[in-house]
Amino acid sequence: MSAPQTYTRPIAGWWRRNPFYRAYIVREMTCIAVIAYALELLVGLARLVQGREAFEAWLASLARPWPIFLNCVALLLIAYHAWTWFEVMPKTLPFINLGGRRVPDRTIVASGAIAAVIASLVVLFAFLYL
């Protein structure tokens, strides 16, 4: 028997077809903010190696309106990126049972997110007051 003639639809533009796919693409694209901020810190590290003067010039270059604005945007995008990781965290875990009951997915998501907020606050506190 010969294989039946079939028609395969093109896949191009698949991510535009559905809100779920668009959210996925947004989630993936926010990694650009993570990369950009990592590069910014890397430049800072290089300036630090070059000496005090270079490092302070780098700090001053960031303390202008545009860099502050861009860093705020990056912070929002990175926060969203982090949240999407917690959202998919249950998918990566085996079932967790506590007291004979399965821990619901939303509890896992919430505990991850709360832990991240607490850790961020501790870092912020240490940075500001220690």
Partner: protein, 252 residues
């Protein structure tokens, strides 16, 4: 008792006849329906009264057989448990995305079925038991570990939802990997080492980028994305086990 109220809805369906059509086309009908009618019943009305050539798969009419999966307004759904009343004034049906179309709403599922077979979807016990030794026993907690993954009805909605499968048909895909996980997490099974070959392969779990839409569209709550992504951890563990103990761990 009052007669159920009848309204009209416009049902637009993709049509494709191999040999006659070079590319698919759309055709629409005005279909009378009552509030209790599913999309499947709407299609059956078309076939019985308006156009007998419209081709689609169906069997049980109650979300058990997994035959009537199709794109309904672009979303993979079972036509039998989707109601026309929710789509007034018009609804568009197409064959499940990512699969080759055979005719109208019927897709070619041969690749999907081959993938289900490829994961050794049966219990591979450590040591075979004789009838006299009785059944393999299992606690409710042990059953809980795999129960949801065993609810798959092979409807293919998750493959239609998976862009990675759409872009690379070699990807083993959500349902087959969930089925693999169903057997791997069964306390009576000892076939994990054999199945790791599928998990670790280039087109195994690493073909997944966790879009997660497969779990969203699953009509039976199987959560294939969870099965796939847990096996990324298993695959990583397996990799390091072989790196540290090249001989003797026996799972490749």
């Amino acid at each position: 008792m009052a007669e159920p109220q009848t309204r009209n809805i416009r049902i637009e369906s993709l049509r494709y006849a191999p040999g006659a059509d070079a590319t698919p086309r759309m055709q629409a009908w005005d279909v009378p329906f009552t509030d209790d009618m599913s999309v499947l019943q709407g299609l059956q009305y078309i076939k019985d009264h308006l156009d007998g050539s419209l081709t689609f798969r169906w069997s049980c009419r109650m979300a058990v057989c997994g035959s009537c999966g199709m794109q309904i307004n672009g979303v993979p759904k079972l036509a039998c448990e989707t109601f026309l009343r929710d789509y007034m004034p018009a609804i568009r049906v197409e064959p499940l995305a990512n699969f080759p179309i055979m005719r109208d709403l019927v897709i070619d599922q041969s690749d999907f079925l081959a993938k289900l077979e490829s994961v050794r979807p049966y219990l591979i016990p450590q040591a075979p038991r004789t009838l006299a030794e009785g059944p393999y026993r299992q606690t409710p907690a042990q059953m809980d570990e795999y129960y949801q993954y065993s609810q798959c009805i092979n409807c293919g909605l998750c493959y239609a939802a998976c862009p990675q499968y759409g872009m690379n048909m070699k990807f083993t895909g959500p349902a087959a990997l969930a089925l693999l996980h169903r057997y791997n997490s069964d306390s009576r099974d000892a076939g994990k080492a054999q199945r790791m070959e599928v998990v670790n392969a280039e087109d195994g779990v690493w073909g997944c980028t966790l879009v997660g839409y497969c779990s969203e569209v699953c009509p039976k709550g199987v959560d294939p994305a969870r099965a796939v992504n847990q096996n990324k951890i298993e695959s990583t563990k397996d990799y390091f086990r072989h790196l540290l103990m090249p001989r003797g761990s026996g799972s490749r």
